[in-house]
């Protein structure tokens, strides 16, 4: 029994590691969509930030500088999305697709021209290095809690952010206004609320959160950027947001379910015996994604987002 504890804790830690990037993306979606702007560019923003984080860290030798670079690109991309969808009331899906496509091409190009490599960047200073992790040694050896003994700062930040975002959305004046804008911007406008300002803020803030998701991949789990990075995690985040009914805690719950599937997959790959061994590896690999689809089919009829989500807001002239 005792010998199982390290394994259990390691599995949970692994699940948390898997959770963080997706959670950031989902929270970014929660932020943006509660103000009525759909952001399917979460994926592309993650990819951009993952790369810029590594670049910053490479240039300076300091992971924190990389973090700043990643946040910076998040702000830039968020401003771009807001400029198109809020300022000009453009189509939110098209803007999002454009940013995603841009991320595919531009980041590949930057990777090759800066690092002279294809596929992956050289290793850089990162938050996942044993020395950079947050050590809570007293937790070690305790079942479940032990998983939290050695996590990166980014994972902690993602978890704390769930609480913070919940508080902001449901217990502050700003949150009330954000939700009012997402539900009925015309009502908000007639009460003297600056709808555009709120939307700009929410889109950029949401994009920065997505950027953290990218950073959690390249500077948290790994120490380098790989060209296959993001790999649909932004979209899983989006799905988790919907599954979680556009709330921070809901999104967290949804992602934990996905994370379990992910850990199960890793576990099964390594240790499957008997019948389980007959199931092809591809099945386990696709498990989290299938669960995403399943969750959406099961829940999408019931999940109702903000009433004016995705509807461009135009002031009457």
């Amino acid at each position: 029994m005792n010998s199982n504890i390290p394994f259990l804790n390691a599995s949970i830690a692994q699940a948390l590691d898997y959770t963080a990037p997706i959670l950031f993306a989902a929270l970014g979606g929660v932020m943006s969509e509660n103000a009525g702007v759909v952001n399917i560019a979460l994926e592309g923003m993650m990819r951009f930030a993952a790369f810029f984080g590594v670049w910053g860290s490479f240039v300076s030798g300091n992971a924190w500088v990389g973090l700043l670079w990643g946040v910076g690109i998040g702000i830039v991309l968020g401003a771009l999305h807001a400029y198109i969808t809020v300022k000009w009331a453009g189509d939110q899906i098209i803007s999002g697709v454009a940013i995603n496509v841009m991320a595919m091409g531009m980041v590949t190009y930057l990777l090759e021209s800066i690092f002279r490599t294809t596929g992956y960047s050289p290793p850089v200073a990162y938050f996942g290095a044993p020395a950079s992790k947050i050590h809570l040694t007293f937790l070690k050896g305790i079942p479940i809690l032990g998983a939290f003994a050695e996590l990166t700062i980014l994972i902690w930040f993602a978890l704390i952010l769930v609480v913070v975002l919940h508080f902001v959305l449901y217990h502050t004046v700003l949150g009330l206004r954000i939700r009012a804008v997402g539900e009925n911007p015309h009502a908000a406008e007639t009460l003297g609320i600056n709808v555009f300002k709120i939307k700009w803020f929410a889109v950029i803030a949401g994009s920065v959160l997505a950027a953290f998701g990218g950073l959690a991949l390249s500077l948290g789990t790994l120490s380098s950027f790989t060209n296959s990075m993001a790999m649909g995690k932004g979209f899983i985040g989006l799905a988790a947001m919907i599954f979680g009914k556009w709330t921070p805690f809901g999104a967290l719950g949804a992602i934990l379910i996905f994370a379990c599937a992910q850990v199960l997959q890793l576990f099964m790959q390594g240790t499957a015996t008997g019948f389980a061994k007959l199931i092809p590896l591809g099945f386990y690999l696709s498990l989290p994604y299938m669960l995403t689809i399943g969750a959406l089919i099961g829940v999408v009829g019931k999940a109702v987002g903000p009433a004016s989500d995705g509807v461009p807001y135009k002031k009457e002239s």
Binding site: R179, A180, E183, A188, G192, A307, E316
Partner: protein, 507 residues
């Protein structure tokens, strides 16, 4: 003291002069009505005053001071509040959240919901407008939602209250409640601007009445020195016969026969509890009742949107097992929906496209799945002329038509399909006098052609004027059957409220 003065207000929209140098002077503490047909420029003027539109030119004075109102925020600051025609409420928020939004009590950045609750409770008591501060707005009936709107602007300290067609969505009882509230607000010294096209209401509540027509001010009259007839003349610009033309019914055979029809409402409760009636060729059967007493369920069952729990519908002697909009229309049913924008028209479509909807698969409008533009345009041009839809341009999008013209377009569409039965659900809802007159004449015309008509209306005058037989719907049941010459509006009113029942002759 003048509460509000506008001088030479002009608002030019692309192609439309919505306000043409309008001058108004409104005294503090009066109820000032502005009447006019749809599209006369009333709402535009109010939106200018509330900072939602910028005027092309003109000046506004509030409490004798020249002001510049660029946003609603400015208007609120000048103590101007507006209850919009379409309520500006966040359905998912509570009453309290809606009322305090934009000016929330807080501790630092934290929203102090407890304080907000008690503030709203106080406010509601002070103005004797009862609401449950913790209830979600989505769960409230329309009349109470309007109360929330009023409280919202009162909390902002509004002294000048603008009501844009406030009774359009209310039941008669809710309207009466609203009028009581308005009188009370007036007594408190508030200035009220009341926008309407219902002359009866204006005569009941206003001190002075300004009439707008096609963007121009026609005149301002005192209530005591005018009459409904004179107002109607000013509004329409000619004499109007508000009286509904009467036509003798030449009743033929039964077209639609409904037996023990039981239908569930959207919320899953039984909204229609087993009703039976017949509609015969050449007669108008009026269904009177307060909204929400089973009308929607009846309509949805007849058009095939909802499958009845029980009961039968017979069309032209044949019982219909399964009704879909497609098969019942093929049998010969025309339908004027109560909600023009939802069910009546495809708003982004042009007149020419809307007018052939439902017949678009038929020759000559299409052949082998390809639309024939020339035939469609020819047909549309002819119909717009026949039904007096303005503008006559067949390329106008339905969204850009006024309410009256949208309704005419629907009539043009529905009447041009072959039909024996016409289901008219509140066909004059939200229409001005001119358009109302048009609808009445069309209904009579249809009846004379021998169409069986089922008229559902909330307006008793309409029911009394048009129907050959009247059924009263209350709580999902028919509680009375009568004819216009054997009853009065008062008696119908009592039955509609469930206070009086009448035995029906068995069908």
């Amino acid at each position: 003291m003048k509460a509000l003065e506008v001088k030479g207000i002009v608002k030019q929209f692309p192609g439309v002069l919505a306000n043409d140098s309008i001058n108004l002077s409104i005294n503090k503490g009066e109820i000032y009505a502005i009447v006019g047909e749809n599209g006369a420029g009333k709402s535009t003027l109010m939106k200018i005053i509330y900072g939602l539109y910028t005027p092309t030119s003109g000046e506004i004075f509030v409490f004798d001071k020249k002001v510049d109102i660029k946003t609603p925020h400015d208007a609120i600051g000048l103590k101007i509040g507006m209850v919009h025609q379409e309520f500006m409420l966040v359905a998912r928020f509570t009453v309290t959240q809606n009322i305090v939004l934009g000016d929330e009590p807080s501790k630092g950045i934290v929203f102090d919901y407890k304080k907000a609750l008690s503030e709203v409770k106080e406010l509601s008591e002070k103005f004797v407008l009862k609401v449950d501060p913790a209830e979600k707005v989505a769960n409230l009936p329309v009349g109470i939602q309007q109360r929330v709107e009023i409280l919202k602007i009162l909390r902002r300290g509004a002294e000048i209250l603008i009501f844009d067609e406030p009774t359009a969505v209310l039941t008669p009882e809710e309207t009466e409640d609203l009028f009581k509230t308005l009188m009370k607000l007036k007594k408190d010294g508030k200035t009220i601007i009341f926008i309407s096209h219902k002359l009866k209401e204006v005569m009941a509540i206003a001190d002075r009445i300004a009439v707008l027509r096609r963007g121009k001010l026609q005149g301002v009259v005192e209530k005591g020195k005018t009459s409904e007839v004179e107002l109607a003349r000013m509004v329409v610009g000619r004499d109007v016969v508000l009286k509904i033309p009467k036509a003798e019914a030449k009743v033929g055979g039964t077209v639609v026969s409904v037996r023990d029809l039981m239908v569930k409402s959207k919320r899953g409760i039984v909204g229609l509890k087993g009703v039976s009636f017949d509609v015969r060729a050449g007669e108008i059967v009026g269904i009177a009742g307060v909204e929400g007493n089973g009308q929607a369920e009846l309509v949805n069952a007849l058009i095939g949107f909802t499958r009845p729990v029980n009961g039968t519908i017979t069309f032209d002697g044949k019982e219909l097992r399964v009704i879909t909009p497609f098969n019942i229309r093929k049998k010969g049913m025309a339908y004027i929906p109560k909600d023009r924008k939802m069910r009546g028209l495809v708003l982004p479509f042009r007149s020419r496209e809307n007018i052939i909807m439902g017949q678009h698969t038929l020759y000559p409008f299409s052949k082998n799945g390809v639309l024939n533009s020339i035939e469609i345009d020819k047909f549309a041009t002819k119909k717009l002329e026949e039904f007096d839809v303005r503008p006559r341009d067949i390329h106008t999008k339905a969204r850009n038509l006024s309410g009256g013209n949208q309704q005419k377009l629907i009539l043009a569409k529905e009447m041009s399909m072959e039909h024996k039965f016409l289901l008219a659900s509140q066909p004059t809802r939200g229409l001005d006098i001119g358009a109302m007159e048009f609808v009445y004449h069309k209904l009579i015309e249809e009846k004379e052609k021998g169409v069986a008509i089922l008229l559902i209306s909330l307006e008793l005058s309409e029911i009394m004027g048009l129907s050959d037989r009247i059924l009263v719907l209350y709580n999902g049941e028919i509680v009375g059957e009568t004819t216009p010459d054997k009853t009065t509006e008062e008696e119908l009113g009592l039955m509609m409220l469930g206070l009086k029942r009448q035995k029906r002759v068995a069908q």
